[in-house]
Amino acid sequence: MFLKRQMPTIIAISVGLFILFGHFINYEPIQHFVDNDATQWFDIIASFAIFLGALNMLKLQVLKVAKKQKNWQYSILAILGFAFAIFAGFFFRGANYVNLTEIDPDKVTQLITHISTIQDIKDPLLMKKSINSSLADYEIPKIFISRSNANHFAGLVSGLATDVTVGSKPWGAHVQIEGSLFSWMFFKVFTPLSSTMFALLAFFVASASYRAFRIRNFEATLLLVAGIILMIGRVPVGELIPWWVVSTLIVFGFGALIAPLIMDKKILFGIIFCGFFASIGLGIIFDWSLAVNTPEILSITNISEWIFDYPTAAGSRAIMIGIALGIIATSFRIILGIEKPF
């Protein structure tokens, strides 16, 4: 019971306090432990823990197929994907390269022609220069997934150099080299699928914005107006909106704000019309059509920047301060062992 209950608490408290005060202690080994070792310990533990996760995922999918639970067909795909990733990572390296030793300088153009059959060459002159600078030992820039393709290409270029060899990139490094089976899986299957998920965000943002911007109350209206101003202010067309459009919008916005306070609609419309004509009249008198004369408030770009720099920054900083204090209090509770999520 001690090992299961008290021991984790003792470890959490002592390590927590040590890491916290380690930041302030002027002793190199402690600083090094806090800044590097502690985080590396976490990474090592997390790396081992991935086996637990992977095995759990595999177990659930296999059980689903074995028991033919609802939608078990999807689990076959998951198992096959898992098996393929293991195969590409640990059993099939790919990443075969062709290396030429002592290339005949007269046959460089011929070599480039051969390379162009397997790879797009953007700048043949640059490639020629690169080959000429390493005639003694040159590796073809194309990496082959299959060994037979690499051998076939080596056969094609065998007469252009003294020695042509086919090799494979080392294990481990192969996962990051374009041309290995693993990187093919990553770039041709995984990345497009991830991008698809990410792209879905655009549609979800649209549907979420629609709900948020529906005018239900004063706050939603404010959100709608601020949102529209920000959107228009952040696109080039926002700068082209003339001063009289902005001044009219401001007058109408002011009218909407005071509307609930004025019961008599005639007075309200009177105020709005007076405001409208007054703003237009002021614009004509002071020649606001000239950019230098236009007050800053009559530019959508300026208004959007103001919204972003002041009310938005103030609100988000208030939330950030609350979050920071929440994090401190939660950490404090955990370090002192008052709250034990483990």
């Binding site: 916290l20 930041h23 302030f24 202690i25 002027n26 600083q31 976490f42 533990i45 997390a46 823990a49 991935i50 086996f51 637990l52 996760g53 992977a54 759990n56 995922m57 659930l60 609802k70 939608n71 999807y74 995984f190 699928l193 991830s194 998920m197 990410f198 879905l200 965000l201 979800f204 943002v205 549907s207 979420a208 914005s209 709900r211 948020a212 988000s316 939330i319 950030m320 301060i321 609350g322 979050i323 204090l325 929440g326 994090i327 401190i328 209090a329 939660t330 950490s331 404090f332 509770r333 955990i334 002192l336 008052i338 709250e339 999520p341 483990f342």
Partner: protein, 286 residues
């Protein structure tokens, strides 16, 4: 009470005094403001924890999102559907995830009491193990250890969008009646919340990721914003020492507001040329 306040004050003063004596020798130079801040904040929170333990009544304002947790699980029970709990995509080194796992404990206790299915897909293996531990404890506390099995908490993927796709798949296939998103979230927040919205689930979110709060507010029924999220487990547990820490946190917030106003006033007066005293330099912030 006053004796304890005095004692905590003296201990804090001694720690700061020792720090001052060893400044530059024993202790690193340049972060004295942080050190003093930590000591002041910690002693304030500790004082209120101690006060709460001694039986002092502490009022917590009602938080709609937390009150709705039981309601949401109840709704799932009535509909005969499951409850989905998403603890975010970060590991246990993030306080948000730790806070999320704390809330999971409370949710699991309610699902155990109501005999409702709980589904916790995780993005990290360490989170999976911690969540299992938390759920096991909760089922035990609720007197229903027979309902607990390890696969309540399961692993999907370490990758952000693979995880989002997996959780969305679970939502679409199983159609849970209540979805909880409590933890650290990034771009996947809206993918999850909108999918949950489309299946008509009651959704309660909580996160410390400031940039994701607007998405959750838009798509979820209730959102725990900022410190509400970190206070949730203390609020739900009703333990005096945890509630005391929230009170301490609020007092620190008040102190921060006072400091901000003081700095603003002093700096404005200095910039107007009426005072030759730079408060920012004095506080070591400039």
């Amino acid at each position: 009470m006053n004796n304890k306040l005095l004692l905590i004050g003296i201990v804090s003063f001694i720690i700061i005094f020792v720090y001052w004596l060893g400044y530059g020798l024993l202790f690193v130079e340049g972060n004295s403001a942080t050190f003093i801040g930590i000591i002041l904040v910690s002693s304030t929170i500790f004082f209120y924890i101690d006060a709460a333990r001694s039986g002092k009544e502490i009022y917590l304002r009602p938080i709609a999102g937390l009150k709705a947790i039981e309601e949401a699980v109840g709704r799932a029970t009535e509909m005969g559907k499951s409850v989905l709990f998403v603890p975010g995509i970060s590991d246990m080194d993030q306080v948000d995830t730790v806070a999320g796992i704390n809330i999971l404990g409370h949710v699991a206790e309610i699902t155990a009491k109501y005999e409702t299915d709980l589904n916790v897909p995780t993005c990290r293996a360490i989170v999976m193990e911690s969540a299992r531990e938390s759920c096991r404890e909760s089922y035990l506390r609720a007197g229903r250890p027979d309902l607990y099995y390890d696969d309540i908490v399961h692993y999907i993927s370490d990758d952000q969008f693979a995880y989002a796709a997996g959780v969305n798949g679970v939502m679409i296939r199983e159609k849970p009646a209540a979805c909880f998103y409590q933890g650290k979230f990034y771009a996947e927040s809206l993918l999850l919340a909108e999918t949950g919205n489309s299946i008509g689930a009651i959704q309660i979110a909580g996160t410390g990721s400031a940039s994701q709060i607007p998405f959750f507010v838009t798509a979820c029924d209730y959102t725990l914003i900022g410190e509400e999220f970190f206070a949730a487990s203390a609020y739900l547990s009703n333990k005096p020492e945890l509630i005391g820490s929230i009170k301490g946190q609020d007092i620190v917030k008040f102190m921060v507001i006072v400091i901000m106003i003081t700095v603003f006033v002093f700096d404005t007066v200095r910039q107007m040329g009426l005072l030759d005293f730079n408060i920012l330099t004095f506080l070591g912030l400039n």
